[in-house]
């Protein structure tokens, strides 16, 4: 649904290594902040649920001392609630314990109570009560590949979940393991990594084991997804049966972010980083790159960004809103958050000197 910017409130949620900040704006230029919420806890995942007119903010909270949990707020952060026994809790027979919630993903408008979560250890969860209680996806948990999945630097987690809005197809990306696809709503899963390189393995083209950093689905073209890999930027046009490189034209094929436009076919954004030795914007020059033709060409977008920036942008530290034109937001490990109200054409600095930004989510919400 297209939402006009003039009649709406914009909500920007910034999860950092030491808490959550929330900001609202009427024009995406001036922002009013609250926070820190959950001071001294990491906020690696945020989901903003705007379905059926609600504004529910769900956050994955990870305290190094007191462990992980999921909390939600229905009043823009004035109060927070968490279920007594935890929203995400591994069943006893798994012998596992939740380490960190990496992804909170409200499903389509047509499934208004459904929220998905991705977690560490590698697992996918589904809630049918708006994110208050989640059930472990047994198909992926019991997958025969599990013993061979590995951990990236940040841990072993399912960090990306993409659900087809009109059907039963679900794509999950995990580090490390790659992309897995379910055609039956999550009952069964198959690795779908053909064409994605795993140069760090003895066989650089394995069935699974890739380190896919983020995936996103094209808003219009059925079966088209984009992937930012640990080296490599890819597109599939056949529902992940195979992937083709779209890295040509980018200053680096490494990065963590992959965003797709909320409505327009072929438009996606990445934030390239040089790797493996540096992991900073190439030459210290931070830029977002946008494609409007599904990765055939890329446009460098750096208006409003600093001349030098040596901090990286993590996989979930970027987001788009659903306004017209779409807003693009991202934060750095140096604690600066940038926002663009024109699809990346011009950025403004909306927050500085925060702790490392782990997660950014933006939405157009009612009221506020």
């Amino acid at each position: 649904m297209v939402r006009m910017a003039t009649a709406q409130t914009f909500l920007l949620a910034i999860g950092t290594k030491k808490g959550l900040w929330l900001a609202t704006s009427q024009d995406r230029q001036e922002w009013s902040f609250t926070g820190p919420h959950f001071l001294m806890a990491e906020i690696p995942s945020i989901g903003i649920d705007t379905r059926e007119g609600r504004t529910r903010i769900m956050v994955g909270v990870s305290s190094p001392h007191w462990g992980p949990t999921v909390a939600h707020s229905d009043d823009l952060g004035a109060t927070w609630t968490e279920p007594e026994h935890g929203a995400i809790r591994f069943p006893e027979d798994t012998g596992a314990a939740l380490e960190r919630v990496w992804q909170i993903y409200p499903d389509a408008e047509s499934r208004p109570g459904v929220v998905w979560a991705g977690a560490e250890p590698i697992s996918v969860w589904k809630s049918t009560d708006g994110g208050e209680h989640f059930e472990l996806n047994r198909g992926l948990w019991d997958h025969p590949h599990r013993s061979e999945w590995g951990a990236g630097y940040g841990g072993a987690a399912a960090h990306s979940i993409v659900v087809h809005p009109g059907g039963d197809t679900v794509h999950v990306a995990m580090s490390t393991g790659g992309v897995y696809r379910s055609l039956d709503g999550g009952t069964s899963w198959e690795a779908r990594n053909k064409g994605i390189s795993a140069y760090f393995m003895p066989d650089p083209n394995p069935e699974f084991g890739q380190c896919v950093h983020k995936i996103a689905a094209d808003a219009v073209v059925d079966g088209r997804l984009y992937a930012q890999n640990h080296h490599g930027v890819y597109r599939t046009d056949n529902n992940a049966e195979s992937w083709d490189s779209i890295a040509e034209g980018l200053p680096a094929d490494f990065g963590f972010v992959m965003l797709a436009h909320p409505r327009r076919a072929g438009t996606a954004w990445v934030v390239p980083l040089k790797a493996d030795g540096e992991r900073i914007p190439p030459g210290g020059q931070l830029a977002v790159h946008r494609t409007d033709d599904a990765g055939d060409t890329w446009t460098r977008l750096d208006a409003g960004l600093p001349d030098k920036e040596y901090n990286s942008v993590l996989r979930d530290a970027a987001s788009v809103d659903t306004a017209e034109p779409a807003g693009v937001y991202f934060g750095t490990r140096g604690g600066t958050v940038y926002a663009s109200a024109d699809e990346g054409g011009t950025f403004t600095e909306v927050a500085t000197h925060l702790p490392d930004v782990l997660c950014v989510r933006a939405a157009v919400v009612a009221g506020a």
């Binding site: 001392h65 007191w66 007594e84 935890g86 314990a97």
Partner: protein, 103 residues
């Protein structure tokens, strides 16, 4: 008349750090009756039954003590004793102290 005299058995006290006290209704000390042998694990079970979120802050869903949560019985951290099987005597204080980890 000759008879046995029953003395009240002193409770066990669980002392919470300030950051966890809101999860126990603002209390800094929780008490549990020492009616029979009590281990740290049983004491934490009892805490979790009354204050479930507090229980989850101390132990994960497998029952394991969280890595940076330290519990002291008799002045010694329970990992250097019998872990969650460490026995607590009537009247003893059990201290919950967060580790000095962090950055």
């Amino acid at each position: 008349m000759c008879g046995r005299q029953w003395w009240p058995v002193p409770d066990i006290s669980l002392v919470l750090p300030s950051v966890l006290q809101p999860l126990a209704g603002g209390q800094s000390v929780l008490t549990a009756p020492a009616d029979g042998p009590v281990t740290v694990g049983k004491l934490l079970d009892s805490v979790a039954a009354d204050y479930a979120i507090l229980g989850r802050r101390l132990r994960d869903e497998t029952g394991a003590l969280r890595r940076f949560v330290n519990i002291y019985v008799g002045g010694d951290e329970v990992r250097r004793q019998q872990g969650l099987d460490t026995e607590v005597a009537p009247g003893q204080e059990v201290l919950v102290i967060q580790s000095v980890a962090g950055g």
